[in-house]
Subunit: 389 residues, 2 copies
């Protein structure tokens, strides 16, 4: 645990040369549309990026990944940086998202995990008992150097365009760790949190720690924002999320709370996203997020209404939103897609800030030219007026 | 289409000897707790059954299925009846659910489909184009004789305990047909409904017809209620459900609207269930359902509140509910599970009728003795008072 304690206690803010703090305009991300929108300030254009923008939809990605395993590609700094930059070059998106995988911190901690093509993360030894959870190894701080190097390389290329850091949330990480592989219902972790709450707390607590360390390494090395992905949180009731999951996601965010999040005005904004979480967006916010991501199931205006109606313990109700172009429409005829994108931008004007994104990741079969055209459309729409202009 | 037209137009109500209409008290299901609760009448005890109660959790099921494929077992009337009856004998549940699979009507229509163990339904030729949809074969009425025979055998054994008929809803059927296999996000059908709405309408319309025929065959042969399973509807926004899916589910229900559903006071109650559909339970009701199933994501009291707040075109707001014991708690220590079951029964008293069920299917690894104990508990609780008594 020493590495983690050092990492959490030592820093007293982002380094002076961090892109959010630097005086060099060519490297400063503080005035970028993404950071401004996430701080509730008016951006110069509608910021947009896409979850999974770095990935299989791009031929240049498939080319550089040839013959290299998923986790291996995440752990080669030069390659990870290249892949992270590809969609920025191609689509002119307003941010890069660090190319990684939610199980990278597990691998760096020494957990036996691999990504099987066509399957997803598979663990050599699922975590099912108190003994399994107790045996999980700590993530040593120097194991994160490979991540820091990739981030440093990426940020140097990005200039004044922000890099968004990336981590899986404790529930989603723990879901893979209990099941040992992807599952549909996530019955394993849901069963454990009710039937064996102590083991659940140990496992989710471990996942929160490595997730927080992973976020911190990226933010310190130059990421200007970070997103916690709780992909499977939508399998939970609001009550179960609040009781058994939110405290652990809050722990992950707490690892960076001195340099990021809603309590640090000039820190890095923190995004929190899960699919099917429309019933408890306010719980995602209250885990310590600056902004909340929304999937395709409800409109941004409705998400805004719900957040405003449920202020948190810190008094925050409405917060900036991210989302929510339905990926299912990326293959529709352009007029259908265009009308949908305009609706999304218009709906987002209800919130105190809006970063346009998909409602979920880019499907691998997406035509990248469609994404480029979507970015052009969003950038051409007047800020704060959306599609109704 | 002739078989379907004949089947839809000819009958003028359930046969006189149908269990819902017979004067023979040993065979009449009209006074059963399940039917009474679904008609909003006070039952003699809290009715309970479990989705997937006939299946892999039972050793007697695994024994009779040995060496027999899933679809083959559904199409052997004697075996299907035996499997349907097993959980009634073991657990004393208040209804049998007809043992079948949502793709059985596809197979009966001649579509190349099989159930691969560990995978699920796999189609030889996915339906992706207008030509694919146009080439779908009609389901001939006499192909359903094997279903009628299985239902007749089952009902003869059940006596005054009702059999619930079973069909997959058009969206869930179409999801398998477009993807060709199970998928997580159901992007295929969601993409089609936006990008190629005519093909979607043709495919979903075909699925609605075979689904309706399948329901009708079971109801006419003696089922006292029927449930439409829209397992994957929760992947849709309420808006997409209403526009692209509900009309087709309504078509399926319309096939039996003269003998079942809310407009036929002495007909068979119709249940409508999907997971993750808390945002649009009223749309499930308004497809033509007598009662709505609720998953574990919201309480029954909240489901009731939402339905009451959104009355449909026919003026119905609150309707009887079914659900919603979280399957994830079946493996929890008994005091935890017992408290949860009491909460569910108490929460259900808000609705004008309540059939206790799981929030989703019985997980295969469930200890059947736990299910028996849950049934005993529910039957011991005072009707209409729930766990607070």
């Amino acid at each position: 645990m020493s590495a983690q304690t050092t990492s959490s206690d030592a820093p007293t803010g982002l380094p002076a040369e961090h892109p959010l703090r630097t005086a060099d305009p060519a490297r400063s991300t503080a005035r970028s549309p993404l950071v401004r929108a996430l701080r509730g300030q008016e951006p110069t254009r509608n910021p947009v990026w896409f979850m999974r923008q770095a990935g299989r939809s791009l031929p240049e990605y498939r080319r550089v990944r040839e013959g290299i395993g998923m986790l291996e590609s995440c752990l080669q700094p030069e390659l990870a940086a290249e892949i992270t930059l590809q969609p920025v070059r191609r689509h002119d998106v307003d941010a890069a998202i660090f190319f990684s995988d939610i199980v990278v911190p597990l691998r760096l901690a020494g957990v036996d995990v691999e990504i099987q093509p066509g399957v997803g993360p598979v663990l050599g030894r699922p975590v099912r008992t108190a003994e399994d959870a107790a045996a999980l190894p700590p993530l040593e701080d120097d194991a994160l150097d490979v991540i820091r190097e990739a981030v440093t390389r990426t940020v140097a290329e990005l200039g004044d365009r922000p890099l968004i850091g990336f981590a899986g949330a404790p529930f989603t990480l723990a879901a893979y760790m209990v099941e040992g592989r992807p599952s549909r219902d996530h019955m394993g972790p849901r069963r454990m949190m009710h039937g064996d709450p102590d083991t659940w707390a140990a496992l989710a607590g471990w996942a929160a720690t490595v997730s927080g360390q992973f976020l911190r390494a990226q933010l310190e090395a130059g990421a200007s924002a970070a997103q916690l992905f709780d992909s499977w949180a939508g399998s939970l009731s609001a009550e179960d999320y609040l009781r058994h999951v939110q405290p652990h996601s809050a722990t992950a965010f707490a690892h960076v709370a001195d340099i990021a999040g809603p309590a640090v005005a000039d820190g890095a904004p923190l995004l929190h996203f899960g699919t099917g979480t429309g019933e408890f967006l306010h719980h995602l916010r209250d885990a310590g997020a600056t902004a909340v991501g929304v999937d395709h199931r409800i409109t941004l205006a409705e998400a805004h209404r719900r957040l405003a109606a449920h202020p948190g313990p810190d008094g925050r109700g409405a917060v900036p939103l991210q989302g929510n172009i339905d990926p299912a429409l990326l293959g529709a005829p352009w007029p259908v897609l265009e009308a949908h994108v305009r609706d999304v931008v218009a709906s987002g004007t209800a919130a105190p800030g809006h970063v346009v994104n998909l409602a979920h990741g880019v499907p691998p079969e997406t035509d990248p030219e469609v994404l480029t055209r979507v970015v052009e459309l969003i950038h051409a729409l007047p800020v704060g007026e959306g599609g109704q202009a």
